[in-house]
Assembly symmetry: C2
Homo-oligomer: 342 residues x 2
């Protein structure tokens, strides 16, 4: 038990007086190996504590059965659910998942992409960093036939797989919901990001919903944020509450922002939802904790993860280098809870 050397197929081969090729094949139930030998090899491998060296296999076969996941952070509920979905699907097909965080930094994203490529992952699933404006660092995957799937925060003009929600429609639905609840002066927070156009899309839905209901779009009610953080949300909320007349509703494109607005309102003695109705986005766990419970838009994170992983695996299986890099759209729904009730 106290050896200090990895057990290899050579060790097994020597012990059983067989060739390493036989061991290798036996371990994966190759049909040219007799059942008797297979059983014997497996038993011995087990006894000797053999664990295959994936580096060697990956080097030789140039495939590692590993899916690289490159996301801004694992802490956002949406993203950790995404991971969860990826893992569930990957595990079914015996793929390993390795996770790397860009921390929304372009530089880190470039480094981690290189690292994933360096590790010869079989496929890559990525949600872009906020900072990222240029996607040249993903060419190494595309050029080498490594399937690449962007999820949620996707580049606009990159011919590869994408799994997204229809942010325009979601924004429209959210705003329409507030209108139906009686709001006539609805504010909106947004964030500028040229590549990940999802905030722009949500904003577009917001504007279109207002127009469709004959509500004038007022620039002062639309606040552009630098970052989607609690602090920025508080700042923006205060700015909104300082307006007169005050807005009577808010569509926040993220639950953290929505929560910050609710809490800022409470601090200022503004009653939610009586005086100010709020709807968020994502259905983060926190939306059910905060008082009043937050209305929100569902974001099918786990499903998106599963879809992305399935695309990778399917693509790897067929290995047809078909140029049809389709975009997968998943549905969202309005979850009407307390914070937006009439």
């Amino acid at each position: 038990m106290e050896e200090n050397k990895h057990v290899t197929i050579y060790d097994i081969a020597e012990r059983l007086n067989l060739a390493t090729s036989t061991i290798s094949r036996a371990l994966k139930d190759h049909h040219t190996i007799s059942d008797k030998t297979i059983k014997k090899v497996k038993k011995t491998a087990e006894e000797m504590g053999f664990v295959p060296n994936t580096l060697a296999a990956g080097l030789r076969g140039n495939k590692t059965r590993t899916i690289g996941v490159l996301i801004p952070t694992v802490t956002q509920p949406f993203l950790s659910s995404l991971i969860s979905g990826i893992e569930i699907t990957a595990q079914k097909s015996d793929y390993t998942v390795i996770i790397m965080q860009s921390h929304d930094s372009y530089e880190e994203e470039v480094n981690m992409a290189k690292s994933l490529y360096s590790n010869r992952v079989s496929g890559v699933i990525c949600s872009l960093a906020m900072e990222t404006r240029d996607t040249a660092h993903f060419h190494q995957f595309s050029n080498n036939n490594i399937p690449l799937v962007f999820v949620d925060r996707v580049p606009k003009d990159y011919n590869t797989f994408r799994v997204v929600i229809d942010n325009y429609t979601a924004g429209y639905k959210a705003t329409k919901h507030l209108i139906e609840q009686g709001c006539i002066r609805i504010a909106h927070l947004t964030a500028g990001s040229e590549l990940g156009n999802l905030y722009n899309e949500r904003k577009r839905g917001y504007i279109e919903a207002l127009k469709d209901h004959n509500i004038t779009v007022e620039e002062e009610l639309i606040i552009n944020l630098n970052s989607v953080t609690y602090e920025d949300g508080v700042k923006a909320s205060n700015a909104l509450f300082d307006l007169k007349p005050m807005p009577d509703g808010l569509f926040a494109p993220g639950d953290i922002l929505a929560v910050s607005a609710v809490q800022t309102a409470k601090k200022r003695g503004i009653k939610v939802p009586e005086e100010f109705k709020v709807i968020g986005f994502n259905n983060d766990p926190i939306s059910q904790i905060i008082d009043p419970n937050l209305s929100t838009i569902t974001h099918p994170a786990e499903k998106m993860g599963k879809a992305a992983a399935e695309i990778i695996i399917k693509n790897l299986k067929s290995s047809k280098n078909d140029d049809a890099k389709e975009i997968t759209f998943l549905n969202t729904e309005v979850l009407a809870r307390e914070s937006s009730q009439k």
Copy 2:
């Protein structure tokens, strides 16, 4: 740009009429290679889009500069902060981090451990799954001289590095704080886990604090949970509120549980902190969102991550197989906020 083959040092060697050994050395500034050659090689490598194949290097050198992180889930704030700490330290020494989730399942933990070993990680940082009772699947690391550090949820009798907080003292401090705030009938939630003895330790601290302040320990005030979830917290809280006389304080060994208690109290019209004071554990982000703000015990997640990674890296550097597998204790503090105020 449309090649379909990875660029290798052989390609560079051919282009420059040099040996692969020279390329290899030049790329890592080996002193036996002239500056002129180094410059030339690096420039060409850059031009050709060379990215080293870590599989090949790892296979040959039997070291991958990769730290495997095996934790229950990435979604818990404590654990994602832990990861963050690990990454910061790893990056400084140019190590790659790969993250795997056991989902608190023993079986998955065993599989992922095998996978990490199979990938020949240089070191392993692990926080045990709730289900885990047996740690034999970690022997493969210990036996092969792969540094192994357990963090937070650690096995009691395993001779390896451990990074933990003093859960006993933390529990003592939390309880003492409630007593100082005037509580005389303090409830406690706990969870049974033989290996990860941290809940037991906190409970021990709770009991000792009561004793030291001449408060009788009452069994009915201590509720044993199956799982540390919001739902179980609600159930337990209701049970506590049904008691008469009702407890006037609660030390919950996790913020989720504390939050569930606060919300259950609110639902039943029990005023927090006036009638019922609560202190949680971990200082999760949610503790600052909930109203009233939650008093809690800090859990230095990022520091623990950094410490664990440093141990791995230091151990790998010295490669002295010293048998001193010390246990690192980090400090915790009482964070007195609204939910426990007099």
